[in-house]
């Protein structure tokens, strides 16, 4: 069991990295990765919301939608649950954990329409994971997101000072740098199968 969970965790972090292999959550990856501290803030907020969203959506799917044969409503229900959950978390943080709110608050509304959050909930259900595995998969996805953001913020800080051909400046070179970063994650393919199976 532990071995399986570890395999799911490592797959989500390395071989099936949410940003660099599955293309989920590209907007924040390109938008807020310019500086190290914004990258960290955003990723911590994403980890928090991903795990919470899975923890809430899994029981709703399992005990409400599936018994009533309402699986076709999954998309609508999940996006609404995630949107209200994000609002709720924001309100709770603002009231009780002021310091955490100051650090993460600005990133929370952005996450409502982040495809990584809805994506992880749908992937967990598509893969028929149980509750614990779903949580572990979300956690892994979030940590993978964080690793990619942190790595890439380092790459972008270097790009700032380098001499780039005129038409590649700005967005194009950022995407090409993302391609190279993503290449490095290709190196992990097969690692999970070889360690655990």
């Amino acid at each position: 069991m532990t071995k399986e969970l570890l395999a799911v965790l490592l797959t989500a972090i390395l071989t099936q990295n949410f940003i660099l292999c599955r293309f989920l959550g590209i907007c924040p990856f390109l938008g807020v990765s310019k500086k190290f501290d914004t990258a960290i803030g955003m990723s911590v907020a994403v980890i928090l919301v991903m795990v919470l969203a899975t923890a809430v959506c899994y029981p709703i799917n399992q005990y409400v939608l599936v018994p009533k044969d309402l699986e076709y409503l999954q998309t609508i229900v999940f996006i609404l649950v995630i949107a209200s959950l994000v609002q709720l978390v924001e309100i709770i943080l603002r009231k009780y954990l002021k310091s955490l709110y100051n650090a993460l608050g600005i990133y929370l509304p952005l996450i409502t329409t982040n495809c990584a959050v809805l994506g992880v909930v749908l992937l967990n259900i598509g893969n028929n994971y149980n509750f614990i595995t779903s949580i572990v998969n979300s956690l892994g996805g979030g940590v993978g997101f964080m690793i990619a953001m942190i790595m890439f913020s380092g790459v972008r800080e270097r790009l700032e000072t380098s001499d780039i051909p005129r038409f590649l400046r700005g967005l194009p070179i950022t995407l090409i740098a993302a391609a190279l970063t993503s290449c490095s994650f290709l190196g992990f393919s097969g690692i999970v199968d070889n360690i655990f199976r």
Partner: protein, 244 residues
């Protein structure tokens, strides 16, 4: 006459001048993820176009009814309903496309092109103009996806339009199932259909679009932090320096 001209402008601006992918840099996730083959890219493009046009029509018709404070959740519900309809149609009529798009089909809900157009255009303009805007933007999205996926499929797997049979079978039996490119199919550059190839081709396409735009005297596509994000207005973070 003047009115017709304005309407046709709403339609044509999305094709090239304000192409959602290459100029406005919206909807990057589905662009990168579904452009591995032309057939799935076109399928995705058509699905997004239908959802975009329908949601633009409904949102524009309801623009005086929806209270300003809850507009984003209201838009999301409208979009999600149309996505659910599309999901059911695709599952029933083009099951192969459902398999190849996988999780990206329901993820049309959070596609920033749709929410972005709802927020920037449909909430302020009459129904007909919004419908044309949605259709034009959708066709611009199909065009961008077709460009990306042609490059990636030809170089990455040495085929062109492979698997198009699954899409065409909606209209009846067809024998056509794409071309195989002689030398490339034996020695494909697989990296192009993998994740790095997606980022690379997209970067090159944006550079090309910038070059063309500059020639005709327009600004380069800029990534101004979260400026292109549809949530920017409701969010206190404007741009990367927005932390105040």
């Amino acid at each position: 006459m003047e009115k017709n001209k304005a309407l046709s402008h709403e339609f044509t601006k999305g094709l090239l001048k304000e192409n959602p992918v290459f100029r406005l840099v919206l909807g990057t996730c589905p662009t990168l993820a579904t452009s591995t083959s032309v057939a799935s890219a076109i399928g995705m493009g058509i699905a997004v176009t239908i959802v975009l046009t329908c949601s633009n029509i409904v949102i524009s018709a309801l623009r005086r009814v929806i209270p300003d404070k809850v507009r984003i959740p209201a838009y999301i519900v409208i979009i999600a309903s149309f996505v659910t309809v599309i999901q059911m149609l695709v599952k029933a009529f083009v099951p192969a496309l459902d398999v190849s798009l996988g999780v990206y089909l329901p993820l049309i809900v959070v596609n920033c092109i749709i929410l972005g157009r709802a927020e920037a255009f449909a909430s302020k303009n009459p129904v007909l103009a919004s419908a044309l805007d949605g259709l034009g933007m959708g066709i611009g999205f199909i065009f961008a996806l077709a460009c990306m996926s042609t490059i990636r499929e030809v170089l990455g797997s040495g085929t062109f339009l492979a698997g198009i049979k699954d899409l065409l079978q909606v209209f009846g039996e067809v024998d056509f199932n794409g071309f195989t490119i002689p030398w490339l199919s034996e020695h494909p550059m697989t990296i192009f259909v993998l994740a790095p190839g997606g980022f690379f081709v997209f970067g090159c396409m944006i550079a090309l679009a910038n070059r063309v735009a500059e020639r005709s005297g327009r600004k380069c596509a800029e990534l101004n932090g979260c400026g292109s994000c549809p949530m920017a207005a409701s969010c206190r973070m404007t741009g990367e320096e927005g932390r105040k």
